[in-house]
Structure formats: structure tokens, C-alpha cells
């Protein structure tokens, strides 16, 4: 039996599980979380089976279209629900289901005290299903179904603890900002339909090189906008920090490993379109470069451990975006970095969750310190992630990030110099802030109240998390250590993706590769060393120092919220209030005015009917005379 045709089960299993959990309600509280884990695991197994089967095929046969049913047969536009099983989508499916399953397991323990754990798992399953639709879809329309589906799951999970109004607001903010990006996706699809008469990958990609550049640029730019929304890229990055309101497993799965990378997936998947439009490619690269620095700078100043990780996620996706914006040479590396990042970042988030678990849900790193003594497993797994992200060989991140930096130096004109430099500098800053996080949390002096010292704050009793939490962390840490190297051997990953990204001849960067590599490592070590000096070797103040202008700006997310508020929200609120007033006072008022005007005239005319018969006679006489004048005048 051809398991590829069973690909729909990948989606169906978690979806059904989610529906069951939601519909059964309290009745499934006792076992609901295990059903969730099981569903995710089943999908993961199926994904691996599919992967194995694909590997068994020749490179050219590794693409299969699985037609399910006609979804929107609307005459001119016909969209079928079909799955596209190819190396790229299967790679994602593995990442999603495998990391997803680990995080499910982790969450069983992490959420064990929450009365709504069942609902949490329902949402997680829903997310897995939607994310799989996103990556397996064979058309932009179906991709959009998954695209918004993950947005919904993200909304539900960020607002999982919505009895806290701030969290509810954060959830809404995420959804709405995503919607702004989705607008781009919609416009892109509109333009595709206007240009190609279809929105499925086959037709669009097949006809892309014959279409005009104008249309392609529009589509490309709109896809970049969509990607910005989903992947928290500049200028739609503001929601990601707030999204940390969700439970930590959510941050790990959705806001680090999978959903936020969907934008990169979208651009890589749309490669044939971007090939026709250098403008859109350049914009994607610039967006990636800007976000890369933006996230890195913000990450340096935050004290909230999850927010640092969020900023780092933004920054790392900036790398991927940059790579994707470089065109075919970058696609495979973007995905490569995406995969390794999925492992090490998820691992670090879980580690952060473990720290919070042990520290009474404290997130302020200034209240941590020296935790390595109390949480050995967390410390070691986190260290693997840390080394991976800052790009120390031979950890995973080194392999993937280094390739991106090299690619950034490829090209002509000013671009390689700018992008390359940004990527290099970014690597250095990354090393600084991630080391800062690592040292502030696990090293240095303890800055929390252990009941013996006289530090402020509630008493903390740090402890290692249960096995259900540590095992996933260990697995992810192994990935963080070895996955990058493993996939680099013989360029196996790049070759594997070639059916999708296309084969690319090797390009020479503008600088020799060894120079780039050495510079990178030097910068990384410099950044890490700086962090060591400041946050491990010397004492970290419990209260944040005032800091420089840049620090204060970075703490305030470079004033992203202030800008959004000033440019969009305030005027929007004013507009809304004005319109509400206008609606009652002017639009409705005009109608009411017509009514009262009639009444007024009635009252005035009433006075003519004064009860005096002589005046009635006068009115009549005037009427007669008037009519006579009018009639006779017609003959004059």
C-alpha cells in the first residue's frame, strides 16, 4: 500500500483528537492529555513512514500529489483540497510532528496543575493539524486554511490564561497583526487568480516565468507581507514578544519551532514566483536583515527570559528570511537553519519552562542566577541549545548559520557586503545576548530568596523538573548537538531538498570562505566573552540599571508599540469613535431630522387651520384666484 496516499491521516488524526477533546468536554479530562500525545505521536510515526518511503524513491519521484476532494468548485475558480508530499513538506511534517510530540509530552507534566489541561491539548492538536495542512497543502488556498488555522491555534493558546486581561489582549494582538499579514496573502492570491486563473502550486509555478514582472512583483511583495505577519518580521514583529503570554510549551512549539517559521516556508515554497521578481526577493532579504538586527538588539536588553528567547527567535528567523531572500542559493540553507533552529530553540524554551517550573513561574532573569547547581539536566540541555544558537562548531547552529552567512556574501554590487556584514554582526550580537541569558540564569551568584539570604521576593526552592519534562529536553538537546552536522555530511540535506529548491551550482562569496568562517567564530567568541565578563564574572544588579539610550529603547522593543499605537491604534480609535458618533448623529440624524422637519411643517401648517370659517373662505378664494392667474397666464 502506498502510504503517501495516507498523508491525509497526518492531518486527520490530530484534528479528530482535537475535536473529540473539545466536544467530550469534562468527560475526557482524565485521559484527554494522553489522547493528545497519542494523536501527535501517531502523526509523527506516519510522517516518518512517509519519509522512509520517499527516501526509497528516486530523487525525481519524490513528489506526490494526493487529491482529496474538490473544495471550492466555483466555476472560473476551482480549488481542490489536495496534499503535496515532497521533500520540503515532509521535512516540515517531521519537524512539526516530532518536535510537537516531544512538547506534548513535556506539556503533560508542565500543565498538570491546570484544570483546563484537556483543552490545552485540544488546542495543541488543533495546531498540529493546521500546521500540517499549511505545509502539505498543494494550493495557496489550502495553505491559507492552515495559515489561518495556526493563527487561530496561536490565538487560543496565547490567550489560554485569558482571565488575565493582558494575556487576552496579547492573543488578540497576535491574531490581528497576523491578519494584516494575511491580507497580503489574500491580495497575493487575488493577483494570482487574475494572472493565472488559479491558485494551486502546479498552475502558478508552471506559468510563473511567462507572466509579467509587474504581477510577479506584486504577488511576491504580498507574500513577503504575509510572511512578515506570520514570522514576526519587521514591520509586523510586535506581536511575538507579547505572545509569550502563552504557556511555555506553546512558546516552544508555536512561537519558536514551527508556526513562526511558516513565513520562511512560504517564501521557499514560492521560489518560482520570487525567481521572476528580484525586487520582492530583495525586499525579503532586507526585511530579514532588518529583523535580524532588530531582534538581536532587543534581545540584549530584555530581562524576561521568554522575551529574550522570543527576540532571538525573531532574529533567527531574520536569518532564514535573509537566506530565503537570496534566492535559490539560500533556500536550502534557510530550511536547514529552520530545522536546526526548531530543535535548539524549542529545547531552550522547554529549558526556560523548566526553570520557571522550578522557580515558581518567575521569568525575570535578574531574579535567577546559579541555577546550574539545582537543575543539572536543564542546565546541560540548555547549554547544548546555547552553543548551537551562537554557532560554536560542531553544534547544529554552526552548520546552518555559517552557510547562511556565506550565502549572504554571495552576489554582486552592494548587496553581499551589506547583507554579509549584517549577518556577521548579528552572529556576534546573538552570541552576546544568548550568553547573557545563559549566564544570568545558570551562573553567577544566586539572586533569589532561598529563605536564608535576605533577598527580596518570595522564597524559591529551585528543583529539577520531572522526567516527563526532562526527557523531551534531552532529545531536543541531542538534536541541537548533532543534527546539523549529521545533515551536512555529504550535503545530504541540500540534495534532499533539491527537487523543490532546484539544484544550484556553488557560488563564490565576495570574501574567501575561511575568512568568513574565522571572522564569524571570532565575533561569536567576542560576544560570548563580553557576556561572561559582564554577567557571570561580575555581579548582576537585581534592579535593572537605567542604561544607555539604546538599552532603554531596546527594552521598549525599540518603541515598536509606541509607533504602532501612535500611527495605527490611536488614529484608529479616534476614527472609530468619530464614526460611531457620525452614525448616530449624522447618518441616523439626517433621517430623524427629516421626521422632525415634517412635524415642524405640520405644526406650522396647522396654524392656517385656525377654526375661523372666514379665513377658510379666504384660503379658498386665494386658491381660486391663484389658480385663475396660473391658468390664464398660460394663455398670455
Amino acid at each position: 500500500m502506498d502510504t503517501l496516499n495516507l498523508a491525509w491521516l497526518l492531518v486527520a488524526i490530530p484534528l479528530v483528537s482535537s475535536a473529540v477533546l473539545l466536544l467530550l468536554g469534562r468527560g475526557s479530562d482524565a485521559w484527554g492529555h494522553w489522547l493528545g500525545v497519542l494523536a501527535s505521536a501517531a502523526s509523527a510515526v506516519l510522517a516518518i513512514v512517509i519519509l522512509v518511503q520517499l527516501l526509497g524513491l528516486g530523487a525525481d519521484d519524490r513528489t506526490a500529489n494526493v487529491h482529496l476532494f474538490d473544495w471550492i468548485p466555483a466555476g472560473d475558480l476551482t480549488v481542490s483540497a489536495g496534499l503535496l508530499v515532497d521533500p520540503l513538506s515532509v521535512t516540515f511534517a517531521i519537524l512539526i510532528t516530532f518536535v510537537g510530540t516531544l512538547i506534548h509530552i513535556y506539556a503533560v507534566a508542565y500543565m498538570s496543575h491546570d484544570v483546563d489541561r484537556r483543552r490545552f491539548f485540544a488546542y495543541l492538536n488543533l495546531f498540529i493539524a493546521a500546521m500540517l495542512v499549511l505545509v502539505l497543502a498543494d494550493s495557496y488556498a489550502l495553505l491559507f486554511l492552515g495559515w489561518e488555522g495556526v493563527g487561530l491555534a496561536s490565538y487560543l493558546l496565547i490567550g489560554f490564561w485569558n482571565q488575565n486581561t493582558e494575556y487576552a489582549v496579547a492573543a488578540k494582538k497576535a491574531f490581528v497583526m497576523n491578519r494584516v499579514g494575511d491580507m497580503g496573502m489574500l491580495v497575493a492570491m487575488m493577483a494570482m487568480f487574475a494572472t493565472f486563473g488559479a491558485v494551486d502550486f502546479d498552475t502558478v509555478f508552471g506559468a510563473a516565468d511567462g507572466a509579467g514582472e509587474g504581477a510577479m512583483t506584486l504577488i511576491g511583495l504580498m507574500l513577503v507581507l504575509a510572511a512578515c505577519g506570520k514570522s514576526a518580521q519587521f514591520p509586523l514583529q510586535a506581536w511575538l514578544g507579547d505572545a509569550m503570554a502563552g504557556p511555555t510549551p506553546v512558546s516552544a512549539l508555536i512561537h519558536a519551532a514551527t508556526m513562526v517559521t511558516a513565513g520562511v516556508y512560504l517564501i521557499v515554497r514560492s521560489g518560482p514566483i520570487f525567481e521572476q521578481t528580484p525586487t520582492a526577493q530583495l525586499v525579503a532579504a532586507i526585511v530579514g536583515a532588518v529583523t535580524l538586527l532588530f531582534g538581536a538588539i532587543v534581545g540584549c536588553a530584555k530581562d524576561d527570559i521568554k522575551k529574550v528567547l522570543a527576540a532571538s527567535t525573531m532574529s533567527q528567523i531574520g536569518y532564514m528570511m535573509l537566506a530565503a531572500g537570496l534566492g535559490p542559493i539560500g533556500y536550502a540553507f534557510a530550511i536547514f537553519h529552520l530545522i536546526t533552529h526548531g530543535f535548539f530553540k524549542a529545547g531552550m524554551f522547554l529549558g526556560a519552562g523548566s526553570v520557571m517550573h522550578g522557580m515558581g513561574d518567575e521569568v525575570n532573569m535578574r531574579g535567577f542566577g546559579n541555577l546550574s547547581r539545582y537543575m543539572k539536566v536543564t542546565w546541560i540541555t540548555f547549554m547544548a541549545g546555547w552553543l548551537a544558537i551562537i554557532g560554536i562548531p560542531p553544534f547544529s547552529g554552526f552548520w546552518s548559520k555559517d552557510k547562511i552567512i556565506e550565502s549572504a556574501f554571495v552576489g554582486e554590487g552592494w548587496q553581499p557586503w551589506v547583507f554579509g556584514t549584517v549577518a556577521l554582526v548579528g552572529a556576534g550580537i546573538t552570541a552576546f545576548y544568548m550568553s547573557r541569558l545563559f549566564f544570568m540564569t545558570f551562573h553567577g551568584k544566586a539572586r533569589w530568596n532561598d529563605g536564608k539570604n535576605d533577598l527580596p521576593g518570595p522564597e524559591r526552592t529551585p528543583h529539577e523538573s520531572p522526567a516527563l519534562m526532562t526527557v523531551p529536553m534531552i532529545v531536543l538537546a541531542i538534536g541541537a548537538i548533532g543534527l546539523g552536522g549529521l545533515l551536512t555530511i555529504g550535503d545530504s540535506f541540500v540534495t534532499w531538498l533539491e527537487p523543490v529548491t532546484g539544484h544550484v551550482e556553488h557560488h563564490e562569496p565576495v570574501l574567501p570562505i575561511p575568512v568568513i568562517m574565522v571572522t564569524t567564530i571570532v565575533l561569536v567568541l567576542l560576544g560570548a566573552g563580553l557576556a561572561w565578563r559582564q554577567y557571570a564574572a561580575s555581579a548582576v544588579p537585581v534592579a535593572p540599571p537605567t542604561g544607555s539610550v539604546l538599552t532603554r529603547a531596546a527594552r521598549a522593543d525599540l518603541y515598536q508599540d509606541a509607533v504602532n499605537e501612535g500611527v495605527f491604534m490611536r488614529p484608529g480609535q479616534h476614527l472609530t469613535r468619530t464614526l460611531v458618533y457620525t452614525d448616530t448623529a449624522v447618518v441616523d440624524g439626517a433621517v430623524n431630522g427629516l421626521g422632525s422637519g415634517t412635524l415642524g411643517w405640520g405644526e406650522r401648517l396647522r396654524r392656517l387651520q385656525n377654526g375661523f370659517v372666514r379665513s377658510y373662505a379666504a384660503v379658498m378664494l386665494i386658491g381660486v384666484i391663484g389658480a385663475l392667474v396660473v391658468v390664464l397666464a398660460s394663455r398670455v
Partner: protein, 99 residues
């Protein structure tokens, strides 16, 4: 004498009659104004009868006189009953019904 003079006279009578209706408060006099108007019309009819040289005009005038007489009967009955009720024949007093 030109027949036009009769027409002018009837016009004057008609106007006097209508002005009487408009200006006089006493119901009887107002009513007489109406009668004057009717008779002005009669005069016109008779004049035109003469002008056209047929009898229709005069015949109509006779009809009108009968009708006017009937109107007087009704009118006086109404005015009298109102006068008995209110002790006044002023038509301006009767303005309970208005607006």
C-alpha cells in the same frame, strides 16, 4: 346699452358677495353675500342667454333661484339653531373646531 356692462355689473356683484363672505361676521350677512354671488351668476347667465339668443340662460337662472331658495331654508335652519344654542350669530364665535 352694451351687454358687456351687464357682465361687468355681475362681476362687481360677485366680488361684493365674496368680500361680504370674507369680511362680515354675522352669519346671515355672510350668507347674503353668497346669495349675492349666486345672483351675480344668474345675471351672467341671463346676459349670455340674451347674447346667444336662446333661452337656456334664463331657464338655468330659474333653476338656480329654486336651488338658492332651498339653500336659504337649510342655511337659515342651521343658523337659527346655532343662534339658539349660542345666543350669537357671529361666525367667528364658532371656532371650536380647528388645527
Amino acid at each position: 346699452m352694451s351687454l358687456v356692462n351687464y357682465l361687468v355689473l355681475s362681476g362687481i356683484l360677485f366680488s361684493i358677495g365674496s368680500i361680504a363672505v370674507l369680511t362680515r361676521r354675522n352669519a346671515i350677512i355672510a350668507f347674503m353675500g353668497v346669495e349675492l354671488m349666486l345672483n351675480a351668476a344668474n345675471l351672467t347667465l341671463v346676459t349670455f342667454g340674451r347674447l346667444h339668443g336662446d333661452l337656456h340662460g334664463q331657464v338655468i337662472a330659474f333653476f338656480v333661484m329654486v336651488v338658492a331658495a332651498a339653500e336659504v331654508v337649510i342655511g337659515l335652519a342651521i343658523i337659527v339653531s346655532i343662534f339658539r344654542t349660542r345666543g350669537s350669530a357671529s361666525i367667528d364665535d364658532a371656532n371650536l373646531l380647528k388645527s
